[in-house]
């Protein structure tokens, strides 16, 4: 019998794969690192429960095993709640109950037969690492992307080395079977599906540092979080993508971009060399004159050059005086102008213009608190936008002087974050709302003179911020927020563990566009265009962020739509919106230099950024 509440939770899984990385020092789901298939991670079990509920798969051997290997340890509850607010353990319990009931009733358990292709795949990777069990296949067949449907592969393979990858690809070519690559098994945007063979790179996890050459070689199963952690331990930094995204996959797909792209760039800027297996199974390196020219860019949708089996990623130096700083603005145009000025003057490392939605969710451990803070920021504090920067001591001094107004330094940020629930609820909000002076309301908050009073009001502490989550998680959150990095803007932006929170309320449909940063009217036109299209279809939407690039000449802009991906009506709305967005952006890109929709960079993430930032065609 299906538990409807568990089914609903399962269906809401965002597939951000945060349960596959140990980003909160909780440890991982015990079966995941051992078994590697997605089905043995919480994300997979969520998909399995949904599939059972919808009658999409039979009870199979692998499904029984996936349920059986869940120990109900509760790690996934903490990991998932931190970014989505969801509690997956109840789904795990429901799955185990369902399987138990099925077995107790002596109902059949499907055991798939090994066909000739599977036999050959198993010869390459080993019996354990190739399967055609429908339960495992299903966990590679669907994702929250509302415009793609379910696509069941025939096989899932987990190669353990480059040579195994090459052999599998060669076999696929021989048999004319299509294939798709998954870095760690996950998929969010509906691209990596196939009816042929899925190669999940989760077993290929080597990281090798060459610090004399300021680089680190990673295999395709290594995630951004894991790499950053290893780099950080050694006193370096890499330009990292979303924490659960794999480094190789991310580079190939879009090039790695982040708030650090202000200095680290994107695409070809991120690596020294990369190794691929082409579609025939032949290995090549990019730093080889006979290799395909992936540094060029075509303003079209083209396939990737092959399967990335290694990326040699750049390491960057770190100084011991780096801190984050936030400069509040009431005007978007002024915030952008300021960020651009910092970028072209080479001040600041990470740099971004953030809106209330982003900053509220970054700071808030619960969705409910985030919604309150989202109102408090503009209505009480008069903060509509923030320019976020990471800089060394000299840079921060320059930023303060250039801002000429109150700024939120790292100490105040920590105070605000640890006292956030009281910022939303305290009488200070009531008084600040009634403030009639000419100075921006946030100014008093930022004043060093006022710091003792602000601390008395907010009572910042791990316990205060933990008070905003479910009672049974408060002890965990209090311990978590006692760790200094959890309120450190530099660390949070390096490891990006809170960015998945943007999808906390609803699944996020992100539009990323490279824009000319010196043309604010173009940027405003794009933002208002997205807003207009969304409003016409009653789709929730919000500004995301903007990060300057290449000395402030260009920027990457994110605008987000929010939909319930389980609601057919919402799916219809977004499908309809895309019929307008595609032609509109294409038209804009054709007539406006510097506008490139990220969609066209897909699979060309190794190209030189100049080729898509400054298109000459």
């Amino acid at each position: 019998m299906i538990d409807e509440s568990a089914r609903k939770t399962a269906a809401q899984c965002r597939h951000y794969a945060m349960c596959k990385i140990d980003y909160l020092d909780t440890g991982l789901c015990p079966s995941g690192p051992e078994r590697h298939y997605v089905a043995f991670y919480p994300q997979g079990r969520m998909d399995l429960y949904r599939a059972l509920a919808e009658g999409l798969i039979p009870m199979t051997e692998a499904l029984v095993e996936a349920a059986d290997t869940c120990t109900l340890c509760g790690i996934c509850d903490k990991q998932c709640h931190f970014v989505t607010g969801m509690r997956p353990v109840k789904v795990m319990e429901a799955l185990k109950d369902h399987v138990r009931e099925h077995l107790a009733a002596k109902k059949p358990v499907y055991k798939p037969k090994e066909d000739a292709v599977l036999k050959r795949l198993r010869t390459i990777v080993g019996d354990e690492w190739a399967t055609n069990d429908p339960a495992i296949l299903f966990t590679y067949a669907d994702d929250p992307f509302p415009l793609a449907g379910i696509q069941m592969p025939r096989y899932v393979v987990l190669p353990g080395s480059r040579d195994e990858v090459a052999a599998v690809v060669a076999l696929a070519d021989e048999l004319k079977v299509p294939f798709a690559i998954r870095g760690n098994g996950g998929s969010v945007f509906g691209f990596v599906f196939t009816e042929g063979i899925v190669l999940d790179m989760n077993r290929m996890r080597k990281i090798e540092f060459d610090t004399d050459n300021w680089c680190v070689a990673v295999e395709p199963g290594v995630t951004s979080f894991e790499l950053q952690k290893e780099a950080h331990k050694r006193g370096y930094r890499v330009n990292a993508a979303e924490p659960a995204a794999t480094v190789c996959g991310n580079i190939v797909c879009t090039g790695t971009f982040s708030t650090w792209s202000n200095v680290y760039g994107t695409a070809a800027d991120g690596f020294i060399d990369m190794e691929f297996v082409d579609r025939k199974g032949k290995v090549f390196r990019l730093n080889d004159k006979s290799a395909p020219n992936v540094f060029a860019f075509d303003h079209a949708m083209i396939p990737s050059p092959g399967v990335c089996t290694k990326a040699v990623v750049k390491l960057h130096p770190v100084t011991d005086d780096e801190e984050g700083i936030l400069v509040p603005f009431t005007s978007f145009d002024k915030a952008v102008a300021f960020a651009r000025d910092l970028s072209r003057r080479r001040i600041a490392l990470a740099l971004a213009v953030l809106g209330g939605h982003y900053i509220a969710n970054f700071m808030s451990p619960s969705g409910e608190l985030a919604e309150k803070i989202k109102d408090v920021l503009p209505e009480v504090l008069g903060i509509k936008y923030l320019v976020f920067a990471v800089a060394d001591a000299h840079g921060r001094e320059a930023i303060r002087k250039m801002a000429g107004t109150a700024v939120i330094d790292s100490a105040l940020f920590r105070t605000l974050m640890l006292g956030l629930p009281r910022l939303a609820d305290s009488e200070l909000a009531g008084i600040a709302s009634a403030y009639e002076g000419d100075a921006p309301p946030y100014e008093i908050l930022c004043s060093p003179e006022m710091r003792p009073v602000v601390e008395a009001v907010l009572q910042p502490s791990p316990e205060t911020i933990a008070g905003s989550v479910d009672e049974d998680l408060r002890e965990f959150y209090a311990r978590l927020y006692a760790r200094p990095e959890m309120t450190d803007m530099v660390w949070l932006n390096m490891f990006r563990i809170v960015s998945a929170r943007m999808s906390r309320r609803k699944h996020m449909f992100a539009f990323l566009i490279y824009v000319p940063l010196d043309k604010i009217e173009v940027i405003n036109g794009i933002i208002s265009g997205f807003a207009r299209i969304a409003d016409a279809r009653k789709i929730e939407h919000d500004y995301g962020f903007l990060t300057p690039m290449d000395f402030g000449k260009r920027a990457i802009l994110e605008y987000d739509y929010y939909i319930d991906h389980t609601d057919p009506a919402d799916k219809k709305k977004i499908a309809d919106a895309m019929t307008e967005i595609g032609p509109w952006l294409d038209g804009l890109a054709a007539k406006t230099k510097g506008v490139t929709f990220l969609m066209y960079v897909f699979s060309q993430g190794c190209s030189r950024k100049e080729n898509f930032l400054y298109r000459l065609d």
Binding site: L428, I431, E436, V453, A456, V457
Partner: protein, 406 residues
């Protein structure tokens, strides 16, 4: 340019007396406007109230909730009609088919809608209401069959004037804030428009309005309430620190409990030697408005003020008595400069600064015109004494400074 009046004064008086005058009122969901609307209804007048929807709440529901707060009976509401609209929109945002009727069915317009924000940061939204919105209402007045326009302004159109402020249109060189500036401009706009259209015009200039002197009830908790609220915020913050967390932060600020349980707050409030705050209760404002409306069919400009400025020292004293605080004191600029201000004073000054011109106000408002009518009717402004202060502040706290009014 002045044009001939649309009807005679005698006809105006008759229509008001026999209750055949139909009033159209803006700002009827606001503090002053709602009190005027209810008083008109109680006296048997017919009132059309222009109101906006707010969020999910329709205009009619907002008004209904407000009238419940006033305790106005169903029979008392019989003369009321609510029209959904917005003065910031052309045609007041009223559908054309409703507007046609209103233009013919309106005799007198009472314009109370106003944005009372002070800060230059809010210029766009203040101008939208106080300038553009007023223009839309004056356009409506001109196009309608109305014969009279009542314009609720403020005594503080006097701006940065030293000395006497006449009951007449003024053109001060400077203003203390955006509200004063836009309301002054509004008076001139109303005078010009009404003169051209042949509409009678009365301008009402209240000073700082607080709650009902008899019951303490109010719908708005700014002005005199705000400095008290800010002081209480500081008191409560550190009292809680002492009671719940050992008082380390309170001790750092010099906050402590006295032997009798009152809270010592080291808070100096800078005040000038002369002047105080001119305060009138809403019940006095409402009575005075009605008396001036009925008693001045020829129109005019009238101050509705107290005339006896309340010293800040008295308000500090009342606050300390009611809320059991010590240590708060008024001091001159020189004394304040002797010792650098502490964080509590920094917080207090920051939030209360915008009101400081009114707290040490040396302006003297002429009242000869208004007095000539009000004295006839025996309407007198009560002294803002401790009892009235306590009544008003207790109501404010009971309702969470307006958060729990409805």
């Amino acid at each position: 340019m002045m044009n001939a009046a649309r009807i005679s004064r005698e006809q105006i008086e008759k229509k008001r007396t026999d209750r055949s005058a139909r009033f159209f009122l803006t700002g009827g969901t606001g503090f002053l406007g709602s009190h005027i609307a209810v008083e008109l209804l109680k006296r048997g007048h017919r009132v059309t109230l222009l109101a906006r929807s707010s969020g999910a709440q329709r205009a009619e529901d907002r008004v209904r909730g407000l009238l419940d707060w006033f305790g106005l009976s169903e029979s008392g509401r019989r003369g009321l009609r609510v029209v959904e609209g917005d003065i910031t929109r052309p045609g007041l945002g009223i559908p054309a088919e409703d507007m046609r009727g209103l233009l013919f069915e309106t005799d007198e317009i009472i314009h109370c809608a106003s944005n009372t924000a002070f800060s230059e940061r809010k210029r766009e939204e203040v101008e939208e209401v106080n300038s553009a919105g007023l223009t839309n209402v004056l356009d409506f007045a001109r196009e309608s069959q109305a014969y009279f326009f009542h314009h609720v302004s403020t005594a503080f159109v006097a701006g940065k004037t030293a000395g006497t402020c006449p009951e007449d249109l003024v053109t001060p060189g400077e203003f203390w804030n955006l509200y004063e500036e836009t309301k002054c401009r509004g008076e001139h706009a109303a005078a010009a428009a009404c003169g051209e259209a042949g509409l009678g015009l009365t301008i009402y200039r209240p000073s700082i309005v607080y709650g009902d002197s008899r019951t303490g009830r109010s719908l708005l908790f700014n002005a005199v309430y705000f400095p008290v609220r800010t002081a209480l915020f500081i008191r409560d913050l550190y009292e809680k620190d002492i009671r719940d967390r050992g008082g380390r932060k309170a001790a750092e600020m010099g906050v402590r409990f006295e032997a009798d349980g009152s809270v010592h707050l080291p808070l100096r409030i800078e005040v000038a030697g002369e002047g105080g705050i001119d305060l009138i209760p809403i019940d006095y404002f409402t009575e005075a408005f009605m008396a001036l409306m009925e008693g001045a069919p020829g129109g005019g400009v009238f101050h509705i003020v107290n005339g006896r400025a309340k010293r800040i020292e008295d308000i500090i004293d009342y606050s300390c008595r009611l809320f059991r605080m010590t240590g708060i004191r008024a001091c001159g600029a020189e004394e304040c400069r002797e010792k650098p201000r502490n964080p509590l004073e920094a917080l207090y000054d920051h939030y209360v600064e915008a009101y400081s011109p009114y707290m040490r106000d040396a302006r003297v408002f002429e009242t000869a015109r208004s007095r000539s009518i009000l004295e006839r009717t025996g309407i007198v402004c009560p002294e803002f004494d401790y009892e009235i202060f306590a009544r008003c502040m207790n109501y404010a706290i009971e309702t969470g400074w307006g958060f729990r009014l409805f």
